[in-house]
């Protein structure tokens, strides 16, 4: 019988290797799989390339992973956020590289990667510093830049509900990058507040079909990044 559930976050991230590319869901704290990230810090993999819209806040979650020196490169659209001090220090010291990508281009690169599309053209960034050096092509009367699909060795995602087959529901705007990163990750690991029996989720309302999910961890009461930051928590 297929059952993708593992007993712990530690077990779920045990095989993340040095140099891996890891997509981490979330827009700010909404959708951030904080328990999976903390398990990855404990696990010790380094020289990671991390794909996330931001760079975390305070010294928990993604910011703690960066602070621990595990991230050699960030691919993101907005590395400046309130309470975001870890990444700026490492960026200025040259210890963590940055690939800055417009937010919609980042989303579409992830979607394309997961859908088996190697590259696509978009008008976003044409004529700007972020479009420099990219292949240009004219369709109709408009210029477009070539952007490449993104895939990852692992994707870490937070869901609201999951069944044993990996079908996912999300919570409100915490959905953000979850469904597309699930598609783009070779191994997609989901932490979910609720794990239900197959058949309990209405097939008409499933957001991410289980084919895109490999491992499930039940985190009944996930921590909230802003609350940990307010309490002054520094992980580990």
């Amino acid at each position: 019988m297929i059952d993708k559930q593992l007993e712990s976050a530690a077990r779920a991230v045990a095989d993340v290797f040095d140099g891996a590319t890891v997509m981490v869901g979330g827009f700010g704290e909404a959708g951030s799989p904080i328990e999976l990230i903390h398990a990855l810090i404990d696990q010790g993999a380094k020289d990671l390339t991390v794909v996330n819209n931001n760079t975390g806040s305070g010294e928990v979650g993604l910011a703690a992973l960066i602070k621990a020196g595990r991230v050699s490169k960030m691919i993101c659209s907005y590395p400046r956020t309130t309470n975001s001090t870890v990444f700026p220090e490492r960026y200025r010291s040259g210890t963590t590289q940055l690939e800055l990508v417009p937010q919609g281009t980042l989303a579409e690169r992830i979607r394309a990667g997961g859908a088996g599309i190697p590259a696509f053209y978009t008008a976003t960034s044409v004529g700007t510093p972020l479009g420099e050096g990219k292949e240009l092509r004219t369709f109709g009367e408009r210029e477009y830049v070539l952007e490449h699909g993104l895939t990852a060795d692992f994707a870490l995602i937070k869901a609201r509900a999951v069944d044993r087959l990996g079908n996912l529901l999300f919570n409100k705007t915490a959905r953000n990058f979850g469904p597309i990163m699930a598609m783009a990750g070779a191994v997609t690991i989901v932490q979910s507040a609720s794990v239900v029996a197959a058949g309990e989720l209405d097939p008409e309302t499933i957001v991410t079909p289980g084919i895109f999910v490999d491992r499930i961890v039940h985190i009944a009461d996930p921590a909230h990044e802003s609350e940990l930051v307010a309490e002054g928590v520094s992980y580990p």
Binding site: A30, S77, F87, L100, P102, G104, I110
Partner: protein, 227 residues
């Protein structure tokens, strides 16, 4: 160039109110962070606007009552919001398909500089020690059908923000249609900046003095407005 010591022109709220007058009933609108967010307070009676926030919500409502919010129901500025009856959540690729695919009617953004050909700079001053961050600004200006800018006419130091050519890194090329400032409403036309309307107590010469490019007078045929 220095600003007169006596403040003239519109307040931030009045600027937002002026923009709100020009947004047609039924529009799907994306509002940038800051002054653009004030527009929701001034939508004229009888008009219904649908607000899109690019992190994944169509039908964004006002801030929640204290203690009633959800840390996972936020806007693009990462502040807690509500969802109106009839709202929809979606993932980022769908959200930016709405933008890139031309499905959003109007976007109102802040600016560092706007050039007379409609070039916009609003994401970076290019300072060497700054952490570059762009978010969805480039996607919005490339994809949304109509782009309005709402901004002070000059910087706090008195430098004009409406300029001949942007000196800051561009967000998009030739993307701005209309600019609402404390001093005036200005259209970007094929001939350059054209005055649409002066704020109360402000005259043409004063606006021209505070603009870094030639300002064309109000068109004879005001009905030529693209709105």
């Amino acid at each position: 160039m220095t600003q007169a010591s006596t403040p003239r022109g519109l307040t931030r709220g009045e600027m937002a109110q002026r923009v709100a007058l020009d947004i047609p009933d039924g529009s799907v609108v994306n509002l940038g962070i800051g002054i653009p967010e004030l527009i929701t307070q001034f939508v004229p009676e009888g008009r219904e606007l649908i607000y899109h926030t690019e992190n994944g919500l169509l039908g964004m409502g006002p801030s929640p009552e204290p203690g009633q919010g959800d840390l996972e129901l936020i806007n693009a500025g990462k502040r807690q919001v509500t969802a109106i009856p009839g709202a929809a959540y979606f993932h980022h690729a769908d959200s930016f398909a709405m933008i890139r695919g031309g499905h959003i009617d109007l976007c109102v953004l802040g600016a560092l500089q706007v050039a007379q050909n409609g070039d916009l700079a609003n994401w970076s001053t290019g300072a060497p020690d700054a952490i570059p961050a762009v978010g969805g600004a480039m996607d919005l200006v490339a994809g949304v059908r109509t782009i309005y800018v709402i901004t002070q006419h000059c910087t706090k130091k008195g430098d004009p923000k409406l300029v001949d050519a942007c000196s800051f890194p561009l967000t998009g090329v030739g993307v701005v249609h209309r600019i609402y400032t404390d001093l005036a409403v200005v259209d970007v036309t094929a001939d350059g900046f054209r005055l649409v309307e002066l704020s109360p107590g402000v005259d043409f010469d004063y606006v021209q003095q505070h603009t870094g490019a030639t300002l064309l007078p109000i068109a004879e045929d005001r009905a030529a407005s693209h709105v």
